[in-house]
Amino acid sequence: MWLFILRRVASTVPVMLIVAVVIFAMLRLTPGDPAVVIAGDQATAEQITRIRASLGLDLPIHEQFITWIVHILHGDLGTSIFTNMPVSTLIGQRLEPTLMLTLTTVIFSVSVAVPLGVWAAWRAGSWTDRLIMMFSVLGFSFPVFVLGYLLIYQFGLTLKWLPTQGYKSPFTDPLGFASTIVMPTITLGMIYIALVTRITRASVLEVLGEDYIRTARAKGQIERKVLFRHALKNAAVPIATIIGIGIALLIGGAVVTETVFNIPGLGRLVVDAILRRDYPIIQGLILVFSFTYIIINMLIDIAYTMLDPRIRY
């Protein structure tokens, strides 16, 4: 197992290097120039040239790349062209809201989706199953921002139960956190619930036809135990896979939810950086996202060995 973990960690190095080269090249090929954004509308071409030189953007691309890579190897993700703040500080400022939103969304979604999926599988072909699957299709097809604005309209503006936007840290203001995170969690969780419900239903349905389930029922096990102890446990590998992939997607994919609810997370940071062509932030964030994906995938692989003793590395 330890060898496996070491091997997986070592394999991140070439992956990260490829990601670094690709993202660096793509950004330099994309139209847009941070110097012109910084200079503002009234600046002349001469002023922009001076700013470009002061930022080192006039250097040959390979020189810029080498400088960046050397900094990365020293653990320095660079400095934002606009704010002059270290990229690591900016990521640090935005990490907590995104992690908290991801965490609440995963907890909420899994708590809703897994029982729903098991129930749908148990009642396969019935009206309950169809209703759950209909809800699942709706969850996939309903645009996130529409649901977000509908919730804001109802619970923020009409009933005035919840704030329409913002984020409070659970460490300084737990009640504020609870009130600001409810609507974003529901909004972001819808697609995730739909996804996990469908996978759970399919996996459990497959397992329910197995001999050991028939045996458990023949032994007189109550249905709840059959479903959750025997069926769900054996269907857990694909469910864990989809939950893991979902976590990785949520961290990078919460952009719309963060925008609608004004949550200062990583998603908004990357969008703002792209709009302004703040290269160091974009590069740094994509590296962080890639690293997160790799680590989460590794954790999923490790989880397999716990969920299914037959799996060994």
């Binding site: 120039d33 012109v36 503002g40 002349t44 503006l157 609810f261 703002d272």
Partner: protein, 526 residues
């Protein structure tokens, strides 16, 4: 005094009720000294001299002060300066600083600080460069006196030092102002009515300004950028958010003030209880379609004239803004309602004449490239209307869709259109930037050294100089009018009219200042 049993019961009930008030209500009481604002953009750059971005300029006004400032009539008035003495030959300006001016770190503002600040500004700003070109000496004479000696009389010294929009000559401590002009400052110490809370700055989310309690405001009433800058709240918080989110936050009372209500949301915001929408900007914004004077077919003056004749200002404004309350047909290159407003030389729409002129110009259906920023709510429709109006006179228009950042980059290209070049792009200036022939960078016509589009017209440059050197207001007005005629005749740009972006605020916010620039002193939440 005696208390009845009923009084005691009522008092007890009131106390109990207060104790059970929801947290939000208690917070609302404690919040009175905080003004929560959604500004027009995300504050990313803290150096208002390094960039011309309007959001950095507004940040500058929060924390810095100026020697002079424009009043309601756009006339320069002393701000940090107590006395001004101009020699009879108009060559020597002696400015004495007011008593009680201090930096946020508690040290005194000195003339040396101001000299260094002006020098740094003079390296970046167009008007500053012009002023320093005629400056013989700028020096500190003791702790409080600044002496500016000119090589020759210059008519707009105070208009330059007191200019209201980017780059504003903000005063900074000498140690900060000595930062090279091409490098961004890191120290945000100023002497303005608010202090920047840099430790809690979260770019893209929150910027906090604390009241500078030692600020010594002028005694005069506030008048645009001039007069007494009294901070009436302890703290101003700028939140960055998307337009729809800002609207919801304003309607629910989570923010107090939204600096720019986008045109498509004005009607919704207006209908919300407890919210007001108002235009506070007397000079509005001026819409421009800029020609590239270097690249065919717009390098041909007759083609540019034909395009100008094809355009109807009201069509642009109706499409992009919609509500006539927020736009104005304005034939002047200077904002209508300001000193130099004139209709002189304006090219009215005449489609038949435009077609004839286009034919005479030798235009043979060459592609005309317009850079279209699809992410901009006003400029995007401007470009679309422009394309339709030009197609109507038989031009082969290619609208190239892109985001605003890409427009900013692409417009720097001097290449032909088939190699990434362009012929026209739409933009806008705040009225404060175009109030006279020198404030508007776009009015310049110095060719390839000048602003994008690179108009080259010696006559226009001469008229700008005439304005700068005018000995009296009548001469200045004459030069400004002549410049407008010249710019229209030469097909400098298409004037797309004047539009206003209103502010939205809760009805308990008071003390807003009517000005081309957003200021937050004098404002309070009652």
């Amino acid at each position: 005094m005696t208390l009845s049993r009923r009084d005691i019961l009522a008092g007890t009930a009131a106390t109990a009720a207060a104790a059970t008030l929801p947290a939000g209500a208690v917070k609302a009481q404690a919040k009175r000294n905080v003004l929560k604002v959604v500004p027009h953009a995300n504050l990313q750059i803290l150096d208002p001299i390094w960039t011309t971005g309007y959001i950095s300029r507004n940040h500058g006004y929060m924390i810095y002060d100026t020697l002079f400032a424009l009043d309601d009539n756009l006339k320069p008035q002393p701000q940090m300066v107590e006395n001004l003495d101009v020699s009879s030959d108009r060559l020597k300006y002696t400015m004495t600083l007011r008593d009680g001016l201090a930096w946020h770190d508690g040290t005194d503002v000195t003339a040396e600080d101001c000299v260094a600040s002006l020098q740094r500004w003079g390296k970046r700003d167009g008007m500053g460069q012009r002023l320093f070109a005629v400056t013989d000496k700028l020096e500190a004479d003791g702790k409080k006196t600044i002496t500016l000696t000119l090589k020759r009389p210059y008519g707009v010294v105070l208009d330059s030092i007191g200019k209201i929009s980017s780059n504003v000559p903000f005063m900074m401590p000498k140690r900060v102002a000595e930062t090279p002009a091409d490098k961004q400052i890191e120290d945000t110490t100023g002497s303005g009515p608010f202090m920047f809370n840099k430790a809690n700055w979260k770019p893209g989310n929150l910027a906090i300004y604390e009241k500078f309690k030692a600020y010594n405001p002028r005694k005069e009433a506030v008048s645009s950028a001039a007069g007494g800058k009294i901070a009436k709240v302890d703290r101003v918080e700028w939140y960055t958010m998307d337009a729809n989110t800002a609207m919801n936050a304003l309607m629910s009372g989570e923010i107090d003030y939204w600096e720019q209500v986008t045109p498509d949301l004005i009607d919704l915001v207006k209908k919300a209880p407890g919210v007001k929408v108002e235009n506070l900007d007397p000079t509005g914004n001026m819409g421009w379609a800029r020609f590239n004077h270097l690249v065919a077919p717009t390098n041909n003056p007759m083609v540019r004239q034909a395009i100008m004749k094809a355009c109807n200002q009201e069509d642009f404004l109706k499409t992009a803004i919609g509500n006539p309350e927020y736009y104005k047909v304005c034939k002047s290159i200077y904002p209508c309602g300001t000193t130099y407003e004139t209709d002189a030389g304006y090219v009215n729409q005449n489609v038949a004449d435009a077609k004839t002129l286009l034919q005479q110009s030798g235009y043979k259906g060459e592609e005309l490239v317009i850079l279209q920023p699809t992410d901009h709510p006003v400029l995007n429709p401007f470009c679309q209307v422009m394309a339709e109006q030009l197609r109507a006179i038989g031009m082969n228009v290619k609208l190239q869709a892109m985001d605003w950042s890409t427009v900013l980059q692409r417009r720097a290209s001097k290449d032909p259109t088939d190699k990434g070049g362009w012929n026209m792009f739409c933009t806008w200036w705040i009225g404060g930037d175009t109030v006279n022939p020198l404030t508007g960078v776009g009015f310049g016509a110095t060719g390839e050294k000048g602003w994008f589009g690179w108009a080259n017209d010696e006559q226009a440059v001469k008229l700008q100089d005439e304005f700068a050197n005018a000995a009296n207001p009548a001469d200045a007005k004459k030069a400004a009018t002549a410049l407008q005629e010249r710019l229209y005749a030469n097909g400098h740009y298409v004037n797309m009219g004047m539009f206003f972006v209103p502010v939205g605020y809760r009805d308990n916010v008071r003390g807003m200042i009517r000005s081309p620039v957003q200021f937050f002193w004098n404002m309070e939440v009652v």
